[in-house]
Subunit: 248 residues, 6 copies
């Protein structure tokens, strides 16, 4: 069930049978010369929908702008500051908790979101306790990164070896090709690509990674690969969601 | 052009010819017993895409959660506080201005966003001036409400008279039916519907408008109506965008 | 009754008979070469006092600095950021609600305040609900712009036609002349005056409106006009206040 | 010169001869059974006007709501949180500094404002340095409490001895009687009055000081006393302002 | 008892007999050419420990970074903005109040902290009342500045006369020499030292006080003096703490 | 070199040879029935001092209160909200960057700090870029968790197997015993201890982990173990610091 395609009585009925909701979160950031700026949101949203169908869970609206400050020297990147993203998460979850949701499963497509999400969860639990909502002490949030699913990880290794890299990876590009075959970009990629640096400010990032890729060769991606990644992620995260829901 | 389906070099190329971007903004809120919770985002996004194609403009990611605090007693509604939404707008526009965008045309689907958006624009201009960006004094934001287009307004009056109401209106419901015919809800609507009250807190709102509608009869909506609204809005807002872009 | 000239037992007695309070809000901003920087606060305060006498209502302290960021390239302008003004409103109303006030009627003298005020009302309702005050769900705020009163609008049209303009208007200047005849400024006004531009950042504003006027000819103002505007506004807003108070 | 009764060209002319401005700051808070809720703002404003005339200085708009959280269990009190007041001061001074003002002399009528004002000055200096305004390192703020003027202090001692107390004092009440003789309140005062407690939360405050007075006997106040306090304060603060202005 | 060397059951046991806690607060800021950057925290912490032993009270962790924005042009200084320090105090006290502490005695080593601390106390009382904690109305905070103890003040006068100055004073330097004899700095001090200026921005401060001292001659300090200051402060603040604890 | 035991000219001299600083960060939180509330700060501080001596680096003041909201149902715990800790880090680093520091190596003793620290680093880089400091794009932060050092991890496994657990672990308790042998607590520990649950709100945490331990048996700790952990951590983090410093 997609929240945005539901009516409020349908949500009410859903809540009578389940307190869980899946929230896709991505980012709007450069993904190298050939990757889509929406890659992280596209992947998270597609997988979340797949999981939602598999486990009959409610899917919330995609958070399509996340924490990508280090990518902001590349045009098209949009980022929230961590403190803003914390406020967004807190406000959003507070509404949903008041309605009766208590189990929040974030399917995440961007490594840069993880720290801020975890900080936001802590801030939100505290905020809800301060509001003295009776259900506050049952609220649970979890972030599940699709690219960390063991099947995904193994397939990426098998298909791309160390050309998988860590940003604008062929695995995520492949997944977007599967979802949006009409938006596959052609383009020459430099054969040299930097890798292994830390991530600091945005100017520094662009100096280290001039075309935006981090050690990756997205030219290896194909839509067929993307479908395999998609299926592996949906399968693994469906199981993960059900375990999360069942957990006391 | 959709920003999320573009690569950063494509954005760079776009900026060489245009400083304009269209940002759809909606809401995630109850729309009566039969309206979709995502109605406002769905309408804004669909029309924005139509305008983008018509005028060859860049479309940013949809802001799908807006200012809907008064709807939060209905399950499924998600809202930001106005101060959070101001921070979201400020952070987002700052990224885009640093990349070279200076003309921001928000296509809005929710009346409750307007005040906060205008406040956010003022706060953002001031913030950009404080950052001493050279292009700060050329930044312009405008909010265009699709439901206020004169053609849309007239057609709604013609088709629905005073059963258009002011929330969960047949016109917006029709538009979502055109975009998502698979998500048309059936359901009995009370023949009595309240209207004419002010909007205050969320508990008060639900007391005044127990099923979420404000004076509307969404049962009148049809997908065919929706297509007509869509086309009228796209036409009028395409002209509006071009005028905004041309304006000094 | 003026709150600042009352004692707390008098406020307590007032609250036993009425939950309503009128709060004048203006701005401290340039009003062209001959208009007073305090124009908006002066007008709002004078009219609020008149209304208070007419309907025997409590008048709170005037908020004399509002949202005028776009005027800040003219010396003497003072503005809050919208997010600061939201905090001011929220803090202030929270105090008054805890004391028993639930009906807040803002008499406003500045168009630039409206969006932020409306955002502030929404944020405040939400905040009060979070505090779990029993009276939170009866709190109602309304903003009434004196310059939008139909009688005022018609008289301005009649007296000044399109020389009324939209900032540093002869109608508001006239009203300040009626209130402060000793502060009437003489001064040559350029016969050309710009109009019709949007409002964006402060540098942009000054470039478009070099002497601060927006399409207006304040030289047409007289104290006698001012008195007529005053009386029309007091009459209309007194009725408006009583209706607001009576409304469930 | 009163800023609110000036035009922007007059402010520009003033700045050519002086970078100084006087800002009255008071509070909107209970002042015992017979004191005016606006006492602190009334006193600060009246004295500031007197000083402005004496030394030909610009007087900004009165900040009539300050930091009075501990008085909020008495109806009519309005307070900002310290962090809100800091934001108000920072926003306001930033506007004035950009216009050319660099010497800010706050004439204060409320002891509870002092700590927050000093914190706000520090935060503002830092903010202005961050904005890289060239004049930032010349900005100076000072708070001058009229009730701490040595002449005022001595006269109060002489007239009232230890019945001066520390809140709702006869000296401040006298001053308001001088300024607003039409608003002198009659009323029985309990002969017992508490004093000597610390100031903590608002509920605690009301428990310790049930009628709002802190050790004072405002029944001793007369308008004639008020005039003498006024004249002493104006004289002393005029000298203080000139010294502040002259100080490098 | 030192909180950081206690276990939670020990804290629980302590709370059964006392609601009081002593919190040392200092600063990390330049103290002239020979003073330690940690001077204020070192002094506050040492004295707090002495008091804690004398009166058998719990000592919380030292707040070693305070409000020292005006010292930030000297390398090594670290400061919070006042609004950040307010948040730190509020968060910290909220935790402790929820555990049962209600009497907070801050032993402070830095004049620059006082205003912000007082603002923070007010903000915290208000916050706690908003949380509706039953014990909120018994919470009391006090700031005790060790350098203002009458015995300390007199001894400093006796030993150093007007060479005590007001920053990087021989008395505080002496106290650090007593606590950390291994960290006594040698170094030539200019015989001229500025004094008597106000404190404004950081660039201004460094211009007025080029080596960081304010009218002081820290070369007069000895560890033996330090011991005497320490003992006087511990004695006086022990009495102060007990009075504070006993006070209703 | 310890910053708090240095003078500002010493810091200036240090900066002439190195831009690096080590900042210990811990927490003030329950560590089970026998662990010290200051455990995380004690460990981080002790190891940081050891590293500082080994590599001749500057050690900043210990951040002794971190992000421990989930422990706040145990008396003695003090926590900042994540958004407050972000502000603390941003303010602190901004001061140090303005002084010339650009390499920040946080030695961390608490897993709960990591997410917020990483969020804070991102927010700080962005803030520094906005301030337009020339050195902003060279600023680098890293968090190094002493308990994740491979030698530490292996020794803990060897000594304690799965009785190491994940909170109030024998390894961290041992380290505090080495540093503060006088504060070793005796006490019966329940033989059953929970483990394996996620971390959510504070009430939930206490319900799952009633005595505060997470799967650990701190009774296994000895001061001798502590010394070995200390030495391993100092050795490994000294190497880590030097690599961080050398890294471009």
């Amino acid at each position: 069930m997609l929240l945005h395609l539901s009516s409020w009585p349908e949500v009410e009925a859903y809540l009578a049978r389940s307190p869980g909701i899946i929230i896709p979160i991505g980012s709007t950031e450069q993904h190298g010369p050939t990757g889509l700026i929406g890659t992280d949101a596209i992947c998270a949203e597609a997988i979340a929908k797949g999981v939602g169908e598999a486990v009959n869970a409610m899917i919330g609206p995609t958070i399509n702008v996340g924490m990508a400050l280090h990518h902001t020297r590349f045009p098209g990147t949009i980022s929230l500051r961590p403190s803003t993203l914390i406020a967004v998460i807190q406000d959003s979850l507070t509404c949903l908790v008041q309605a009766g949701f208590t189990k929040f499963f974030f399917i995440n497509g961007h490594g840069g979101n993880v720290a801020t999400l975890k900080a936001a969860f802590a801030e939100t639990y505290y905020h809800l306790e301060g509001l003295r909502l009776p259900q506050a002490d049952r609220v649970q949030c979890r972030v599940a990164n699709w690219y960390m699913c063991s099947g995904v990880y193994q397939l990426a290794k098998e298909l791309y070896g160390n050309q998988e890299g860590s940003h604008a990876t062929p695995s995520e590009v492949a997944l977007t090709q599967y979802v949006y075959p009409e938006a596959i970009k052609q383009g020459e990629l430099a054969s040299e690509v930097n890798s292994g640096h830390g991530i600091f400010g945005s100017t520094d990032f662009r100096r280290r990674y001039p075309d935006g890729r981090m050690g990756s060769n997205p030219a290896l991606a194909t839509p067929e690969h993307g479908q395999r990644f998609y299926e592996l992620a949906v399968k693994e995260l469906s199981r993960g969601y059900l375990e999360f829901l069942a957990q006391e």
